[in-house]
């Protein structure tokens, strides 16, 4: 497997194990919620970008940052953090421009598509 993206791991297994221990029987439900919500947040961010409403990126990016970190999706969390900062910068009239936000949004989708099958694998193992 090649992994061209630098930076943090796609999925931090230690965080996954911590979440499993903490959540006991509810872990699978939580992962399902996470996958559903993340799809919707990424779509919201993409829609906001194409409508040129970067201020509407802040809230979904903010949530993605923390929920992803909680479940070990470190790349998604990292990009969401940058995206939130960039979107806030834009709304204040300074900082990152549209291009950065556009490329971060692309990277966000890629990172999510990389981590999604890993979560599904974990869910399958759990169910088995």
């Amino acid at each position: 497997m090649t992994n061209s993206t630098e930076g943090p791991e796609i999925l931090d297994m230690e965080a996954v194990e911590d979440a499993k221990d903490a959540m006991k029987g509810k872990f699978a439900t939580m992962v399902q919620y996470y996958l559903e919500d993340t799809v919707s947040f990424v779509e919201q961010i993409e829609a906001a970008l194409s409508a040129n409403e970067t201020d509407k990126i802040v809230s979904p990016a903010h949530t993605l940052k923390s929920s992803s970190a909680q479940l070990g999706a470190m790349q998604v969390s990292d990009i969401a953090r940058e995206l939130e900062a960039a979107a806030r910068g834009t709304t204040d009239g300074e900082g990152a421009g549209e291009n950065d936000i556009a490329s971060l949004t692309q990277r966000l989708r890629a990172a999510f598509e990389a981590v999604e099958p890993k979560f599904k694998e974990i869910l399958d193992q759990q169910a088995a």
Binding site: A22, M23, Y33, D37, S59, T63, Q70
Partner: protein, 317 residues
């Protein structure tokens, strides 16, 4: 009837047996995590995923919630807006609120303090801090409930009292006396929490010389009340009293509290310090100053304090 021991007042254990927490977060992943952590600690948990839902739960369960744990940033109705809504409701306005804010946002903490929120947690949540802050909020909630119950027992024509001088020594006496004296004020509920804090302070930090750091440690070990009760029986402290003087004047009602301790640096406690907003205690004086009374004045060394409520002058027809 010889069941008149101080413990019959029920004041010794003001912490509710199974505290009930309302947890509010728009991120359902974090909310699930939080719910699980709270349940693991033996709490009953209500959840809400936005401010509006939180208000609905509070409407419905008003007497069943002990503490509200609120996320600051939520779409639609944010944490501050929920607090503003609660402040307009008499029975919800004194419910302790813990606000979760971003890690690097002291301005959010300051904003919250101005709105009357005295407990803070930063995201991501650390278990140790969660326990410490939650225990402080639960203690406040429990104490308020017990004091309020106690007070409703002897509500009377206390507004006829012009002057009253009392002397007391122990923690139980401090709590009982605060219920009694609060009734002299036109809005006893408002005064009660702050007054109890001041009287308890004069025993623990005043006469018994417990320091801020010692209290932090004692609370963390769950040994605070035992230690206070032990100290108040030691020869060194046994004869120390706190004097309380209530006076009704033309434009104000005031209470003067004088202990026999060495005093303390009260200046840094008059307002909530954002740096201490996650400590497990240390909010009482600020609450007395900001919520319960219209003015609070210490003497220089800090072993006497005068707390006053201004009275509206009656119209002279």
């Amino acid at each position: 009837m010889n069941d008149m021991s101080p413990s019959s007042s029920g004041l010794r254990n003001p912490v509710p047996e199974k505290p009930r927490i309302l947890a509010v977060d728009d991120d359902r992943i974090l909310l699930m995590m939080l719910e699980q952590k709270l349940q693991d600690q033996g709490h009953d948990v209500f959840t809400a995923t936005n401010g509006r839902e939180a208000c609905e739960v509070l409407q419905r369960e008003r007497d069943n919630v002990d503490v509200v744990l609120l996320d600051r940033e939520m779409p639609e109705m944010n944490g501050l807006e929920v607090v503003a809504w609660m402040k307009q409701d008499r029975s919800l306005s004194r419910l302790p609120v813990i606000m979760q804010t971003g890690a690097n946002s002291p301005e959010q903490v300051q904003e919250g303090i101005d709105a009357g929120v005295f407990y803070y947690l930063t995201k991501p949540l650390q278990d140790g801090l969660l326990n410490s802050v939650l225990s402080a909020a639960i203690r406040e909630s429990g104490q308020q409930k017990v004091l309020r119950q106690e007070m409703s027992k002897h509500r009377n024509s206390f507004t006829l009292v012009d002057k009253c001088e009392c002397r007391f020594r122990t923690l139980d006496e401090a709590e009982n006396l605060s219920c009694f004296i609060a009734n002299f004020f036109p809005d006893p509920d408002r005064v009660l929490a702050g007054l109890a804090e001041l009287l308890i302070n004069s025993v623990e930090h005043g006469n018994l010389g417990v320091t801020y750091e010692e209290k932090t440690e004692l609370i963390a070990q769950g040994a605070w009340r035992d230690e206070i009760q032990k100290r108040q029986e030691l020869a060194e402290f046994r004869d120390k009293r706190v004097e309380v003087l209530f006076a009704r004047e033309e434009e104000s009602l005031s209470i003067l509290i004088q202990d026999q301790g060495k005093g303390f640096d009260w200046r840094s406690f008059m307002e909530i310090d954002p740096a201490r907003a996650t400590d497990n205690h240390g909010r009482g004086i600020a609450q007395a100053n900001l919520l319960s009374f219209d003015s609070l004045e210490y003497n220089d060394v800090g072993n006497a304090v005068k707390a006053s409520v201004t009275v509206e002058k009656e119209l002279d027809w």
